[in-house]
Amino acid sequence: MSSVEFRKDLFADERPENLNEIGLPKQRQDALGHVTGRSPYYDDNLYDGLLHMRMVRSSEYHARIRSISLNGADMMPGVVRVIQAADVPHNINTLLSLIGFGRDDEALLQDKKVSYRGEAILAIIAETELQARKACQAVRVDYEALPHVLDVEEALKPQAPVVNEEYPNNTFDYYDRYDHQKLRFGDPHAAMARADHIVEGEYQMSPIEQAPMETCGAIAVPETNDRILCHTCSQALFFSLGTTAKLLDTPSSRLHFKGGTVGGGFGGKVDSLNEPMAVLGAKLTGRPVKFTWDREEEMQVGAPRGAERWRIRDGVMNDGRIIAREFTGFFDSGAYTRLSSYAVVKGTAHLPGPYTIPNVASNVYCVFTNRTPATAMRGFGITGVDFAIECHMDKVAETVRMNPIELRLLNAYRDGDMKPHRRVAKNTAYIECCQVAAGKADWAIAPEYSAMSSLRDGGGERASIPLTMIDEEGRIGERKRGANIDTAPSKITKDSGRAPSVIPILEATQAMGEQAAGRPQVGKATSPAPQPSAPPAPAPAMAPSQTPSPTSAVPAAPQRSAFARLQASEPAAPSQSRPVEPQPSTPTPPSESEQPYRPSEPFSRGVKRPGASPFISGRRR
């Protein structure tokens, strides 16, 4: 019995009749264990002499630790061992260092500064959980409270407190160059200028705790062969193994990780905070040690899906075609990077959602705040922006007075279309999803929309990469130095924009399409639908490549953004204590010493830098 409906009428030629298993319900291999209560969760391993670990945690959002007084905790009944920051062999890590992305920024135990409420300061191991709890209560930490920042846009301001000293600008550094992840595809600014409507919206999603029924935990046990066995509920066993090996400066061959049955994870069990502590405890005591979060810890310090704020600005024609879309996104990473840097890259690759829009730009920021660090959760990087996009589609439909499903079908991507991250869409099924959803909801759509297919009318001119306006706004540290730069990607037509040559836009489009895509579809407009009378874009679109012009030359946007700070009219606002930049509202042209900017390779992947982790599975490279 299954509630999954297998529709053989859709994509019929991809649904052969001679399949034996596909399309039929299949019993879960672990179902029998679950219904008999015999599935082996990590906590179902019983050991004589098991010790229990509890944490002393920060009561402050942001504070320097003046001193830590054990206050006799180490002498209390049942207490076997106190673990402090100095006991952690390599007390600095970032999760994605295992794939060489980002810099180490997070300590397992903090003894100098805490950056979020609930951050671990020291651990106490005792014979019983109660004894460990009582000893933790005895410990006194003397804090010097620091100003904290809890809002992503506040954190971008020059005077904002530095949350994470590895990233003093409060943003993750992308490609050693920008304080945000850029996406540039076509020329949204020019397209907005000829659009019939500009539709703007701001959307926000709060952090969401995964709240698995089984709280995060691990039991570490010394084996008889100089290895440590670790039973864990980790969702990412080898990730946890590598992280533990690195933090404890131990070859991974000395660790034996055993997992497999996860009592619900949803992304909340990849951060590998319990395993290193439990293994360290077992090493230091020589006895089995369990480190499990109680429910309160799970909710307070368990990393949630991060908060996101999105602004979307669409250029829409009267017939419902969306010809330009701009995003400004803020991911609240909390105090440390964890996986949010990756979520931003992944989310950017998803833009502009399952639609083919010929001009797209986005600036997405991975921002550090004094909140609980965020991590993975079910489609993270995508879910928040999809919520924003689909709310916005309804707003667009209202603006042009269209059936919202028909608007989605009209703009839906199809097989063969170029996505703005320069990959051709394959196996698309969005049109069919909308059609089936409309049918299930008894939502009438016109026959021509019911007849649409993801398999038809894609590709061709929709597969080309348009002339793309590129800018260098948002260099690392510019904001912190007091430069007043709009976070929206809109102001590309100023002097920082680069076009390959000064030629009329349609020719340029063809040239760029040919150059960049290497595809044969030259001599065609880049818009998905024919635009018989589309005039060449107004001159400002090409202004950048002519003369670097002062701010006064910036043309007014066709319709002023409600949220954009109109930088052209703002006076220079140099910060008092920082070196004054001559024109803070103008992006700084790269200095001679800097490597010249190459528009042909603005999307290089991965961050490789000397400061990246020297460890792979605990071994120095």
Partner: protein, 167 residues
């Protein structure tokens, strides 16, 4: 802490243990009696994963003082099947995909058993009410409700021999 002797029946078997004064039933069942089927979810009586039956009535074992089960009868999922023969609730949970991560399943099954033991033909609303103290983060509850209703339809006393022995 003083040890207290406790004698009770666990899934039909006589059991005697010395427990810490103030210990909760969940700990005593898991660490003392070695029955690992009830699970710890919150320790605050809010999630229901530790649900067991005491004299046929659903109790949250994390909030139950172990000493008070002296002389009483405790049932857990470990005793739900008769050897390899599963209880109708268990087969219906399997067939309906009512268990995903499986962590809430033990408590869910015991809450459902408490319902069907007293009300063999519940309405959908009565099923929802009966499991309202049990949280599940995977299924969205619908498959669980369907499974319990199906088990009621089949007659909860029926045991299916079709799934072989449990591991």
């Amino acid at each position: 802490m003083a040890k207290v002797p406790v004698r009770f029946t666990l899934n039909g078997r006589e059991t005697a243990l010395f427990v810490d004064g103030g210990a909760n039933l969940l700990d005593v069942l898991r660490r003392g009696a070695g029955d690992l089927s009830p699970k710890y979810g919150c320790g605050q009586g809010t999630c229901g994963t530790c649900t067991v039956l005491v004299d046929g009535e659903a109790h949250l074992s994390c909030l139950t003082l172990a000493e008070i089960i002296e002389g009483r009868s405790v049932s857990t999922v470990s005793g739900l099947s008769n050897g390899p023969d599963l209880h109708a609730l268990q087969t219906c949970f399997m067939e309906n995909f009512a268990a995903q991560c499986g962590y809430c399943t033990s408590g869910m099954l015991m809450a459902a058993k408490a319902l069907l033991d007293t009300n063999p033909n519940p309405t959908r609303d009565e099923v929802i009410e009966a499991i309202s103290g049990n949280l599940c983060r995977c299924t969205g509850y619908e498959p669980i409700i369907d499974a319990i209703l199906l088990a009621a339809e089949r007659g909860q006393g029926n045991r299916s021999p079709s799934y072989g022995s449990a591991r």
